[in-house]
Amino acid sequence: MKLKLLSFIDYVGLPYEWKFNGLLLQDRNLVVGKNASGKSRILSSINDLASLLTKRVQLSASAGAMSWEADFADEKGITYKYELKINQSAVLSEKFSRDGLTLLNRPADGVATIQTKQPGTDATQPMDFKIPNHELAAVNKMDLIQTPFLEPLLKWGDEVFYYRFGTTMGQDRYGMATPGQVNFDPLKHDENSVMPKWILGHQKYPDAFPNALKDDMRRLGYEVERVNLEKTTLLNAPEGMMTLTVKEKGLARPTEQHFMSQGMFRAYSILVHANYFALVRECGCLLIDDIGEGLDFERSCILIDLLSEKARAGKFQLVMSTNDRFIMNHVPLKDWTIVKRESGQSRIYNYENSKKHFDEFKFTGLNNFDFLAMDFLNEDIDLDDTEGSPNEENGNLCRGGN
């Protein structure tokens, strides 16, 4: 299933409360906004929810008060809604419904109830329960026989992957090999787990995976002949330490991961993950913050195209953020989510809620970046098409005669 709509509040009830409402998500999404508008927090709020549902993070006293309201839909058109409120290490309330029918309700005060399936029938009956308040009921009460309706939610959580493209993306992570096998713990959700993903991809798809990587790197303009995993030649490296390598045409030897440029490695790393997901179909939602950071403009755009293709092949949702104008110019406005910071909240604008402005902008002759930079959403676009033009001097087409 896919996340369709999300609202989120951080620091609930505090003077510095921050929230966003109505984040509408489609298959491909580019979250854009000026610095500090909340783009990264939007992506991390999705990852936080997924992480809680899969116990990748635990509620702790250091956590603030947060609230999520998430709407999902699966391929059959079944809709799901999950609401969660937490405060530090405690769950305040939790609710899960399917097609409008409440199946789990854990109110802030009172007894929690869950619908449980009766053995041998499709009938359900409510069951009261009480669990420790630092645990999510959606996780704690999951049972494939009694509460199978929770499975899609937890599966969604498990299939959300979050990468911050502006970080090292695993360039400084190596692994040790023993003869005959490579012993890595595949840190499934670790954004730096590029090497484990590479190994798994190579083991499962010995031809398709490396070939896809080679093809993609070539499309990015790197003349790659071979991708591999080899012993590093890094000074002072322990015996058997492995590095990812890329052999480019014209270079005498492969380039080890630490010698690749930062931009090249980030691109390679995200392509390792994306190709892996496209092949193994273990990803439902790929979150990439600051996509293209460190890459030149042409490669950024090709990378967006490649990731979009992988997302289509792997049937996963792609949510990217950027404030790079060239990337914005490359992605159609219909895929945009614009984030504008207004005191304690980030307002969300997209084609659905601002259709007139999105449609009108194409007539300005400006590139997409200017939609954001010039705050076109604030323009009065209800102008008379024949009179009242904002352009008095240039506003007439020169008419000729024969």
Binding site: F326, N329, K334, F358, L366, N367, N391, N394, G400, G401
Partner: protein, 239 residues
């Protein structure tokens, strides 16, 4: 020295404008500095020098001619570079783009022109220099089509009656700006004599070189009136 900056959407527009400038001003009197403007993201703006034509010294008129790499970049590039143009004492700024092309997955049409005109000044500073925006309708090749004598210079078999018969349209009298795809019209005609009009420099340059610029300068006003803001801006600059 007087300075003018012209921003165009692509290579064809650049080659045509260069030729037009040299023909109107005379190659000894003007220097045209050509560049490509690309990028503009976090990694910065890529400005590539393409070449310098016309007078190499003792000229009083200097034109910066910029290929912006797309119709939706022309006005944005002017906006981005406006302040530095003013600081560098440019006197005239012109933008040239066409209508054809896709935007947001939709092909722009003749019917979109009123909406495009409505926003023609939007977002670009108007003081101290008011940029002149030139809209080639539907594309610059309409001007080439209107200068129909060039066909016979491309190939002597392409007489006006022959071209009229091929197109089912007389380019000497017909409304060339209402032709939806003038570049396809050129290609259709050229292909009857084993040639082609393609959006590659060698092909477009051959047509641009075959044009009669006396006709372009003096004779197209009634037929392709949207070229005149460009010619007027050049004249104003040269005077």
């Amino acid at each position: 020295m007087k300075k003018m900056a012209i921003f165009v959407e692509g290579g064809t527009e650049l080659a045509f404008t260069e030729k037009l400038l040299l023909e109107i001003a005379g190659a000894k009197n003007i220097q045209v500095h050509k560049e490509k403007d690309r990028g503009g993201g976090k990694v910065g703006r890529y400005i590539t020098f393409i070449g310098k034509v016309g007078a190499q010294q003792d000229h009083h008129h200097y034109v910066l001619l910029v290929d912006c790499g797309g119709d939706d970049r022309v006005r944005s590039v002017i906006k981005d570079r406006y302040k530095s143009l003013c600081d560098e004492r440019y006197r005239v700024i012109v933008g040239l783009r066409d209508i054809r092309g896709e935007r947001e997955g939709r092909r722009m049409t003749y019917a979109d022109i009123p909406n495009m005109l409505k926003w023609m000044d939007y977002g670009v500073p108007m003081q101290p220099i008011r940029p002149t925006m030139v809209l080639a309708v539907m594309e610059i090749e309409a001007w080439f089509l209107a200068e129909h004598s060039h066909f016979s210079r491309v190939d002597s078999r392409l007489t006006l009656p022959q071209v009229t018969q091929i197109l089912g349209f007389d380019p000497s009298t017909g409304a060339v700006e209402e032709r939806p795809e003038p570049s396809n019209d050129l290609d259709t005609v050229y292909r009857t004599v084993g040639k082609a009009y393609e959006k590659v420099p060698a092909s477009t340059q051959a047509t641009i070189d075959a044009l009669d610029y006396n006709v372009v300068y003096l004779g197209l006003k009634s037929r392709t009136p949207n070229i005149f803001p460009l010619i007027d801006a050049i004249n104003e600059f040269l005077n």
